[in-house]
Subunit: 338 residues, 2 copies
DNA sequence: CTGGATCGTCGAAGCGTTTCAACACGCTAA
DNA sequence: TTAGCGTGTTGAAACGCTTCGACGATCCAG
């Protein structure tokens, strides 16, 4: 492997000149720059990442903590990951993937200076990682909202607004008996932030709209979905509007409703909260509130990068939910027809 | 951040002694070791990854190239990834995730010495990355089999054997008209290795068993699956045994068969090639050949690690397919009942 | 005793960059 | 003419670690 000194020798300049050509941090005359560049690709020179990290304390790597937890939809996680990785590359950064949900990986990459910054997914309401990143020297962006986002940068879909929006939509189209089929019990037990926020928004809106809204946890399996549907329709047979916030369970919920003879889009209105591609690959195109996972990943990287240059204050960005009507929802019993 | 010199000073030893305590490459007396260790965690010392990489030319990072291509099942990819990441951690390595399918990332991490080794997924028959890794100084393991695995280390399910096994099973249970519902057309167009290998095994076995076996490509969407099922049953209505090698399409294939009144497990036998958890989360438990994705990821790391220590010869490991009978297959028309 | 191993520790030379202070040069302005 | 300035380039000092060769001490065999 050629070193920067080899390049310098080949170009007849000093090593620092080569370095400045590469970094652009000092002006270099056109002819010199040309000689250096020619030498670089004649030798196939690549800077040694470790040496660079040592000298500059910049690694051009960011860490992505994506705990692979039970109950979270893997395709959705991957959309976040894809957003993060591709955007990071646009800033000339690579991504170190951490999947353990403990705190040791965090400590290792931050205090070992392996990364310049961190993006953390799947935040719980009282997440043990949060105090650590607050203390780390690397800037961090959370995908999701912890209990106390004080001094932290966060980005997420505004799930509270999404909950409200879903209810408002159903109410507006004439539904007064509404239910949420939500996250798996494990997720709720962990107090995963997004699940709780959606429920809060939903309850608030139901209350202020004067409609009933019950909530069923739901495993992402066929059996779990069937059970959720069955208990829901047993305890509240008057339900005509269902919000499903569980990508894995969604197809099974629809299948069970069909088995029970409920025609989605006619008898029963269903609003999904999920990525658009998931909404579109169901048995019928779903009315849905988009979870723009890839965008959120991208934004997380943008935020982390602005904090990397210059001492920006922390900010939390909540993306406004957008509801798109498709074929799974219709007017309900209380609809006012004109 | 404390440095190794701080630790040495605090413990009253030389920096090299601290280094040897950490690496264990030279014997250190018990009392000295104890003093050093006390100093280490009093100061909260962590070696600087870049400095270590520079001095030792070891980064303790491996690259994982997992192109996020259209047509490949994301949950399955993630199983590979999970296997790789967790096993890498057991060897004290972290994972750098590359998702671009071009060759630039490969070049960057190898010639920049960012990683000690590579694991590459989703190999095409004539993959442009293969010549590059053969030239790189870092050992590499491919998940999948290129056209010419000469001098390369590879690991995968033995898809050819899986194709044969699936056919043999159907033949043995009395089916003479067999079909494969396979990968999406894009995957075939890329000559993705595993898809072609399964088809080859299937055709060979069909030929030598004297049964017919047609092949349908199949998009992983509801529409694509319906289309595949429809054309299959239109052109070969006598089909009683179907092999599905497409995780994304599987549920939709089953749904379409049901819609058309074919009772899977009675009229129609279906064998899936997919991870067991996918096989179990369908409308009925599927007879399947397991794709042990996480295991394969783990094995890939094992192989890469043995090649990292000592100059091992390259090897390719093909895991023997295992078929598990469940409820989606039954005896066919030609079965000999006793 | 003496000579040679063995054990534990140390000093110093790298590893390949970045970056700071300094300098040479040609200009312009006084 | 000279002081002063900006432009382009350089030398050398970090950055924090690993590892090689060397060295004193201890031990055992002869």
């Amino acid at each position: 492997m050629a070193t920067i000194d080899d390049v310098a020798k080949a170009a007849g300049v000093s090593t620092s000149t080569v370095s400045y050509v590469l970094s652009g941090k000092r002006p270099i005359s056109a002819p010199t720059r040309a000689r250096v560049e020619r030498a670089i690709d004649k030798l196939g020179y690549r800077p040694h990442a470790g040496a660079r990290a040592l000298a500059s304390s910049r690694t051009n790597v960011i860490a992505l903590m994506a705990p692979l937890r039970v109950g979270v939809s893997v395709p959705v996680i991957m959309q976040f990951v894809a957003g993060v990785v591709t955007r990071a590359r646009e800033f000339d950064h690579d991504v170190l993937l951490l999947t353990q949900d403990d705190v040791s990986g965090l400590d290792r990459v931050t205090s070992g200076s392996m990364v310049d910054a961190l993006v953390m997914m799947d935040i719980e309401a009282d997440d043990p990682r949060v105090p650590l990143v607050a203390a780390a020297k690397q800037p961090t962006v959370l995908i999701g909202l912890p209990q106390d986002p004080e001094g932290l940068s966060c980005v997420d879909l505004d799930f509270e607004a999404a909950g409200r929006l879903a209810v408002r939509h159903l109410v507006k189209t004439g539904h007064t008996d509404i239910a949420l089929i939500g996250s798996p019990p494990e997720v709720l037990r962990r107090h995963t932030a997004f699940a709780e926020r959606l429920m809060r928004g939903l309850r608030d809106q139901a209350k202020s709209s004067g409609v009933t809204a019950r909530v069923e946890a739901c495993d992402s399996t066929p059996a779990g979905a069937s059970e959720a549907v069955d208990t829901l329709l047993a305890t509240a047979p008057e339900t005509t509007g269902i919000i499903v916030h569980n990508e894995g369970a969604l197809p099974h919920v629809l299948a069970r409703l069909a088995e029970r003879g409920a025609v989605v889009g006619t008898d029963m209105s269903v609003v999904a909260v999920c990525p658009t591609d998931v909404a579109l690959s169901q048995r019928i195109p779903m009315t849905s509130i988009d979870l723009p996972a890839e965008d959120i990943g991208r934004v997380a990287v943008d935020m982390v990068m602005t904090r990397l240059g210059g001492e920006q204050p922390s900010e939390t960005r909540l993306l406004a939910p957008v509801l798109t009507e498709r074929e799974s929802s219709a007017y309900g019993p209380a609809a006012v027809h004109d």
